[in-house]
Symmetry: C2
Subunit: 346 residues, 2 copies
DNA sequence: CCTAAGATG
DNA sequence: CATCGTAGG
């Protein structure tokens, strides 16, 4: 666990900075348009004429975009939030979270456009599966956000990120445990009034092979957050890899022995929350059914909404009254998870 | 080495059987058309309505075709051959050869359509990379051809096939060497008047790590063919993994230390031919430049025709006067190699 | 079903 | 820059 940066900024100015983003919005919308049709066959069959590519300036081949998954209709979504919190205030901070299931594929699928529509002040990503030297240009060229990465030693596995419009006061990588911290699962950003944690909780695995590891994580993570919470209230954003209650997945009955809905994992979440934290979505919408953030790619699960709510905003009890809303962007594609957004005034 | 089948058929009827194929031609052309546009987003976002897919008959998801590589304009190619051989005869047997670089990907890229345009009596394939239990349905449903497979023990590696309109008199798998024959590199089909060999010669590898193995193969293969040639003349079809002479690749000067153009490999080919065989293409077109059958996928090699002639029809000396033509189908896509076709009268 | 790495060409 | 297998989910 390292503390790398220590700048002081005015936390209040977070939402103001987002206006910068509006400028680049139209620009990205254009670049997100369908790729030009492939060069005609005649071009390809240029054959023995030997076009002798004149080695001009080594133009990049314009990174062909994948068209496999359903493209997002970003225009169809309502990004506004007029809901007031318990103090009667509208939001002044917007935090989004997304398990991207491979940052490079997600960029290809135009996941970055989400940023410029939602315009979060802070964005937490999980399963980036990308070491920093392999980041796509679209990420490297991203001007508006400070970006922080915590990657696994194992290439192409796990990895989390935290993007922030304002420079955080400090950044912690990991949860203070040498075993778990080699896997790139946690980034903590300190702001004036709170901590924001981007976390990817270990999956219990097929046939629950890694359930022990997961339960050990639960203990260590709880302690880690407890320590933060002593300093400032905490906003945990991430893939908790558990559907807490029956209402949180489409098929509770058939999944009690499967990773993400075992007794142990569910109790782990109950235990964690009992320590002084709140699942903001369920607090706001206690009876909302069919509200999921993950759908397996298999068996058309997403189009049938056979999903799981695995991604959460969990806040310290004393922040509950600051929460304005917690939205699930289930119409946003690019991963097997969808993004979620928390609106707060603090 | 095994001899599995021993049927007797009239070799003369080979080309007549091809007429059967014409019937299914139009059918495949329709199925080769661009896949239907992906279901609309509205369908995908059906969401919590839970369409409860009624489990009718488990319809197959219609195998989405890849559109990455350049599609072939099969209509633009002239499949006729009126050229006469030294005896003044037009062809009565047509043999095609293609290193498909992964049979499953090749099927996705509509490689099978080539068969129904070219209508070869015999088709030899290399680098199928597909065990028989994983053959795509389009292959399994292929009615007109008897199909023979020789696969590697190593999944997804090497593998050759031989398709034949008429049942061969016998089939041999391998070259009679236990080491090499685990790698799926050779099928020999016996016909009344000749043998047809589908072969995938070992690549010398990056930094020539497997050059010794390759040179050992050369010896064994030469002996193997010699034995066949004592019985009947031989038609060797395949990826010989060598460009024989400077004229056979775009960049001879810079490739003398690279797999496929080392002194040893080139001499291996010279030595082999000196034993009583002829490279039919070079015999017919001794000065033809820019005639290649392979282009690396890298650096737009194919559109610049920076290629290699690695795929050959090599026939016993006494068959040379039977050859009508040897065509290189460089406009046919679906692999990093293109197909070649031999027209003979025998 | 999808992502990624690694081996092979 | 493709193909494939495998791990991981």
């Amino acid at each position: 666990m390292q503390v790398l940066r220590n700048f002081f900024v005015n936390n209040k100015s977070l939402t103001l900075v987002t206006k910068k983003l509006i400028i680049s919005l139209e620009q990205r919308r254009i670049s997100a348009m369908p790729p030009k049709k492939r060069k005609a066959a005649s071009d390809e069959e240029g054959g023995s004429e030997k076009a002798k590519s004149q080695k001009t300036k080594k133009e990049k081949p314009a990174a062909k975009k994948k068209e496999k998954t359903c493209p997002t209709d970003y225009e169809a979504i309502d990004y506004s939030c007029t809901t007031k919190n318990k103090h009667g205030e509208t939001f002044n901070v917007r935090i989004s979270n997304w398990n991207v299931d491979g940052l490079r594929a997600w960029v290809q699928k135009d996941g970055l456009s989400f940023l410029e529509y939602e315009k979060p002040d802070i964005l937490c990503l999980q399963e980036t599966k990308c070491s920093e030297d392999k980041l796509p240009d679209d990420i490297k060229e991203l001007q508006d956000y400070k970006m922080f990465w915590h990657n696994s030693n194992k290439e192409g596995y796990a990895g989390v990120a935290l993007f922030s419009l304002v420079e955080p006061l400090s950044i912690k990588y990991g949860i203070g445990n040498d075993e778990h911290d080699t896997e790139g699962r946690c980034i903590t950003a300190e702001y004036e009034k709170y901590y924001v944690v981007s976390v990817y909780v270990p999956n219990a695995g097929r046939r629950l092979v890694t359930l022990p590891k997961r339960l050990e994580w639960n203990k260590i993570f709880k302690k880690f957050i407890k320590e933060l919470d002593k300093q400032k209230p905490v906003i945990i954003c991430g893939d908790m890899n558990v559907a807490h209650s029956e209402i949180d997945l489409a098929n509770p009955k058939t999944n009690t022995k499967n990773a993400g809905f075992t007794k142990e994992e569910r109790e782990g979440m109950t235990d964690f929350l009992s320590d002084g934290y709140v699942d903001t979505f369920r607090k706001l919408y206690p009876d909302q059914t069919g509200a999921y953030t993950f759908w397996t790619y298999m068996r058309n699960a997403r189009s049938n909404n056979v999903g799981w709510r695995l991604d959460y905003f969990i806040v310290s009890d004393r922040l509950v009254d600051n929460v304005c809303d917690n939205k699930i962007r289930s119409g946003v594609f690019g991963s097997d998870h969808c993004p979620i957004t928390l609106f707060m005034n603090i």
